[in-house]
Structures are given as C-alpha cells and as structure tokens.
C-alpha cells in the first residue's frame, strides 16, 4: 500500500499550493465561498455519522458547532497570549499553527463533552422525540451562549485572531473524511449500521446499542466542534444567531440531498448547497424560493438523495480468520 505513505505529503503540498494560488485564480470572493464550503463538508460528514450511519435523528448539530466555535475562540482570546509567550522563540507561522491546533483540540474536547451530556439522556428517546429534544438542546445552548457576557453575548464575539484559512480548513476536511471513512468501515461502523438497520436485532446479537449510539453522537459532536473552531478563526467574529436551528436544518438538507449514509453524498451535498446558492446569487431572492422548490422535488422524486448509498471506494474487507 504505497499510496498510503505518499497520501498525506501530497495532500499537504496540494493544499499549500491551493492556499497560495487560489485567491489569485478565482478571486477573494470564491476563495471565501470554497473555504466555507469546507466547513460545511466537515459538518455534513460528521452529522452523517449520526443520521446516516447510526440511524438516529439529530437536528441539533448547530449546538455543537456553536460550542466548538465559542470554546475555541475563548481559548485563543483568553489563554492564547500566554501560550504564545511561552513559544515565542518559534517563527510566527508555527506559533499560529500551534495555537490553532490547540484551540481545535479544546473545541473538540468541549463539544465532545457537550455531546456526551446531551446524548446520554436523549438517546433513550426515539424518532421524532429524539429529533425534537436535540433541536431543543441546540436552542438551549444558543440561548446560554447569548447570556454569557465574556464571549460577547448578544453583541457577538469580536477580537478573535484570524488563524485558519483554506489550507487548514481542507486539511481538517481530509482528516474528518479519512477518520469517518475508517470508522464506518471498522467493526464499530458495522455496529452503527446494525443499529440503523434494526435496533432490536442488533441488541439481540449482542451490540451494546446505547454505548454505540452515544459514541457516534460524541464523535460527531467532536467534529462539529472542530468545524466551529475553524469557522471562528476564519471569520474572526461569532454571533449566536449564526447557530440557530436553521443552520442544523441546512446541514441536514446537505446530507439528505447528497444521499444519507454516503460520505461522498455528504461532501457533494455540502458543495452543491453552498456553492449552488452562491452561483445563483444574481437571481436575488428567487434563488431561495427555487432552492426550496428543488429541495421538495428532489425529496419527492428521488428520496434516497442524489447519490443514494453509492460509494467511491469499497471498504477494506477484513481477512477471514
């Protein structure tokens, strides 16, 4: 498997090249759209783990996205200068990288804990009830953030250092996709999918359904947190209104349009929604009406999404024992 050895170095070089050249080639506007599309990809692929692979129905993803964004930003605003002081001997670019990665670690940790705190009680519920409770938790998180003054509250959180860019976002896109891909092709992934396909049968076969449900919830929240951290350090400004439940809906629309339970589908859906909406900006408000109609039509005529559960790479088969 030689390509495994060269995959990451090649990816790094390509991303570095894109980071340096992309703004010149497509302009600052499309650079921005593509970077935001990357954040959407992370959100969509991570939510797909819960909704597509584990078959649970979460519509509160924006909450964990918000937790990650705010904790990462707060870490770098309040603890960042001290950390920077201790690593001052390094060049500025390395300092930024360390701060960003540390912040993302904090974001993943805090969002994962939030996922655990929300997941353990709510995953006892099923279907619609689970959906509405996750939505409720998402809104509760947002209102709580709105009332924390040290992160700006309703004014919004300003003064966040601008640490992330196209390179970092797509590096984490790759990390997310590879992690989730390997996860769903492992024995854990089979446990997730068995819960999706038939929870009672899975339980009967000895799958600890509660544990795996909570696990997929926590992992998904961690990646949502990372997406939040990248977003915070990309836009350098956060406002609680960015994280309303409409944001969760948008992520769900992405994975459903692309094809639930397909990583490629989630990626495609994220790009289609973000880039598609921007490409038709000239159409004014009509484009949003048209988007809504197209969404309804896709669901009526092709409910399995554009890709269905089609996948580009077949999972590695385990050697038979």
């Amino acid at each position: 498997m030689r390509w495994r050895l060269i995959f990451w170095p090649v990816l790094l070089l390509v991303l570095l090249g894109l980071e340096l050249s992309l703004r010149g080639v497509v302009g600052a506007y499309w650079y921005n759209i593509l970077a935001l599309a990357g954040i959407d990809i992370i959100l969509a692929v991570s939510l797909n783990l819960i909704n597509g692979f584990t078959g649970q129905f979460s519509i509160g993803h924006a909450g964990f996205y918000a937790v990650g964004a705010y904790s990462c930003a707060a870490f770098n605003v309040y603890a960042g200068p001290a950390v920077r002081g201790t690593i001052a001997f390094l060049p500025a670019i390395a300092q930024n990288a360390i701060l960003l990665i540390a912040g993302l670690g904090v974001a993943a940790l805090v969002a994962g804990l939030a996922g655990l705190a929300v997941g353990i009680p709510s995953l006892r519920l099923r279907g619609d009830y689970l959906a509405i409770v996750t939505l409720g938790f998402g809104e509760i998180i947002r209102v709580m953030i709105l009332n924390i003054d040290s992160v700006g509250g309703a004014r919004g959180f300003t003064g966040i250092p601008r640490l992330s860019n196209f390179f970092w976002i797509y590096l984490f896109v790759a990390i997310t996709i590879v992690t989730i891909y390997n996860l769903v092709n492992s024995s854990y992934g089979r446990a997730f999918m068995s819960i999706r396909d038939d929870e009672i049968a899975a339980e009967a076969m000895g799958v600890d359904t509660t544990r795996f449900k909570v696990m997929s919830f926590v992992i998904s929240s961690m990646f949502a947190g990372i997406a939040g951290g990248l977003f915070a350090h990309y836009t350098a400004y956060l406002h609680p209104n960015t994280f309303q439940f409409v944001t969760s809906f948008q992520v769900i629309i992405m994975i459903v349009i692309g094809g639930l339970g397909s990583i490629e589908g989630a990626v495609l859906g994220a790009i289609l929604v973000r880039v598609g909406l921007e490409a038709f900006r000239g159409f004014g408000d009509f484009r949003l009406v048209n988007f809504a109609i197209l969404l309804v039509l896709v669901m009526i005529f092709r409910p399995q999404g554009l890709l269905g559960s089609w996948t580009l790479f077949r999972g590695r088969r385990k050697a038979t024992a």
């Binding site: 619609d128 509405i132 409720g136 509760i140 039509l297 009526i300 005529f301």
Partner: protein
C-alpha cells in the same frame, strides 16, 4: 399578588394562542406521524392575509373598524390558510404516500412563474413562465417521471416539510419584503379594570376566540362522523382504510382544519403583537410544536394544556426578570418533561413491537 394575577392573565392569553397553533401540529402528527414544519409558516400566511384584507380600501370603507371587519379578517385568514393547507398536503406530502398526478407540473409552474417574472417583471411573463413549467411537468409525467412512493420514511417527509417551510418563508419575503409590517388595529385595545387588575380588551377577545375555536374543534372531533373518521385514521391508518374510510380525504380535511386554526392564531397573535414579518412564524411555531410534544403529541387536550404551560412559563419568566432566557424556557421544560415521561403529559405510551 396583583402582578402575579396580571401575569397569569397575560400568560393564559399568550398560551391560548400557542395552543391554537399546537392543535394543528398535534392533529397532523396524529394522522400522518409528520412534524409539519410548514405549519408555522401557514400561521405567518394567516397574519399576512389578515393584514391585506384589513388594509383593503373596500373593506375599510364598508366595514370601518367594527366587529364585522374583525370577523371578516378572521374568516378570510382561516379560509385562505385552509386552502393553502390542502394544497401543501396534495402536492408536497401526498406524493410521498400514493401516486398523485401533476405534482411536477404544479411545482414547475411556480418555478416557471418565478423565472418568467425575473426575465421580464410583468405579469404576462410570469404567466408564460408558469405555463411553460406546467407544460414541461405534464410532458415529463407522460414519459414516466413519477413520484417515488415506495420509500416512505420519516426523514423524507421531514425534509419535504422543511422545504415547504422555506418555500413559504422566502415567497413571503419576495411578495411582502423582509421588513416588518404593522398589523392594523381591527379591534381597538381598551384597558378594562376588573378589581385591581387591568385587562386589555384585545387580550380578552383573543382568549375568547381561542377558547371558542377549541370548543368547536372538540365538538367536531368527538361528535361528528368526520371527527370519528379522523380519530380512526390517527389510531390506525391502514385499518381505517380497510374499514372503508377515504383516508386521503380525511388527511386533507385534517390539514385544512389545522391550517385554518393556524390562520386564526396568526390573526389573533398579530392583534396582541402587531409587528408582522415573513419569518414571524419560526419561533412561535417551534414553541407551539414544543407545546404539542409536551402535552403528548397526537392528543388534542394535550396540545391545549401544553400551550397553556408554555405560554404561562414564558410570561412568568419575562415578568420576573429573566427575559433573555425567554426563548430557552420552552425547550428546558420540554427536555425535562420528556426525560421523565417520554410520551408527554397526556400522551399514551406506544408498545414497541418487533
């Protein structure tokens, strides 16, 4: 104590408005197991229909600011919303269950009207675009483009609901603009002193109308044949169909009924809080849904109780200082109740079968 009583009255009238919207959610969930996210936007449409009718110069010159004008506004909103509800059911939700003709033609017609209007902003262009869209839709149907009815899932219906909701919101922004409008005072607000309390006459009207509508609904559901059929469909759709009930018609009727109540709710709430805009339905809709879940979704009396609980809790929270947490209170109550009693206050438990 007086403040408390005052808040109690405010909370009850707020809660009765939530209950009206929650009734629609709960009835639709009862018959279709569907969270109709578009319901909150039907409520918004109700408010805007009221706005248009009340500001109509003909209506104003004939009825002035009398009780008749108020009734007319109310009826117009209810009728338009009932029709809208049936259209949504016919062209968005039913294609997921059973084959429906002209679905593509319907949506492409709207799409075409938009495109036509954009190319040249005159009505004729919109009409031409709409006809073109309908033609394409009909032709495509001739060649076998049919709705996929085999895969019916919770998620699919939910996404369709979100799509319809977005469609109504964005269309509202397109037609009325995104800036807030002022709802005319069809019923003048007059403070009435009762004991030591002052009650706004508008709030009394809201409360009275809401209660009257709820009583009517209860009578309809429990003492008419259609109501019996509705209960049968919500108890077991397939068995109801086997017993000779035209389930599609009952579902359409339920949509009309729920949407009419939402339209009435839209007018009533706009009387109390006259600022209306195309996104006004989002938060009240969500809270009304929470109220429905809280009371036990599918249960009509549960929706009323849930609406009152949410309305009271919110008004109390605002009245006693914590107004910034206002939007979270409904959800905190929801989470607490669902964790203790997952089927809601008045809901019936469902046995899980293999």
């Amino acid at each position: 104590m007086e403040t408390f009583l005052q808040q109690l009255i405010n909370g009850i009238s707020q809660g009765s408005a939530y209950a009206l919207i929650a009734l629609g959610y709960t009835m639709l969930y009862g018959v279709l197991r569907l969270i109709n996210f578009a319901h909150s936007d039907v409520y918004m449409v109700g408010a805007f229909v009221g706005f248009v009718v009340a500001n109509n110069p003909v209506v104003q010159s004939v009825f002035g600011s009398s009780i008749l004008a108020a009734i007319l506004v109310m009826l117009a909103a209810m009728v338009v919303c009932a029709c809208l509800g049936m259209l949504i059911e016919r062209f968005a939700y039913r294609p997921g269950r059973s084959p429906v003709r002209f679905v593509l033609a319907f949506w492409l017609g709207i799409l075409g009207a938009g495109v036509g209007f954009m190319i040249r902003p005159v009505p004729a262009a919109a009409l031409a675009g709409a006809l073109g869209g309908v033609a394409i839709g009909v032709v495509a149907e001739r060649f076998g483009v049919r709705p996929e009815t085999r895969r019916s899932s919770l998620l699919k219906l939910l996404i369709i609901a979100i799509g319809v909701s977005l469609f109504l919101e964005y269309s509202g922004q397109l037609v009325f603009g995104a800036d807030p409008k002022f709802f005319p005072q069809v019923i003048p607000g007059r403070p009435i002193a009762v004991g030591g309390l002052t009650i706004d006459s508008q709030r009394l009207v809201v409360l009275g109308v809401a209660i009257a509508l709820m009583v009517l609904l209860t009578l309809l559901v429990h003492y008419t044949k259609t109501g019996k059929a509705m209960r049968a469909v919500s108890f077991n759709l397939d068995a109801a169909r086997l017993m000779g009930i035209n389930t599609d018609r009952i579902i359409a009727f339920t949509f009309a009924l729920g949407s009419a109540l939402a339209g009435a709710g839209g007018v009533l709430v706009s009387l109390m809080y006259p600022r209306i805009d195309p996104l006004m339905g989002v938060m009240p809709g969500l809270k009304a849904f929470v109220a429905a879940v809280l009371g036990g979704i599918g249960s009509i009396s549960g929706a009323m109780v849930g609406g009152l609980i949410i309305g009271l809790a919110e008004v109390m929270a605002v009245g006693y200082g914590q107004s910034t947490y206002r939007d979270a209170i409904a959800f905190v109550i929801l989470v607490l109740i669902l964790l203790v009693k997952p089927t809601g206050v008045m809901g019936k438990g469902m046995v899980e079968k293999v």
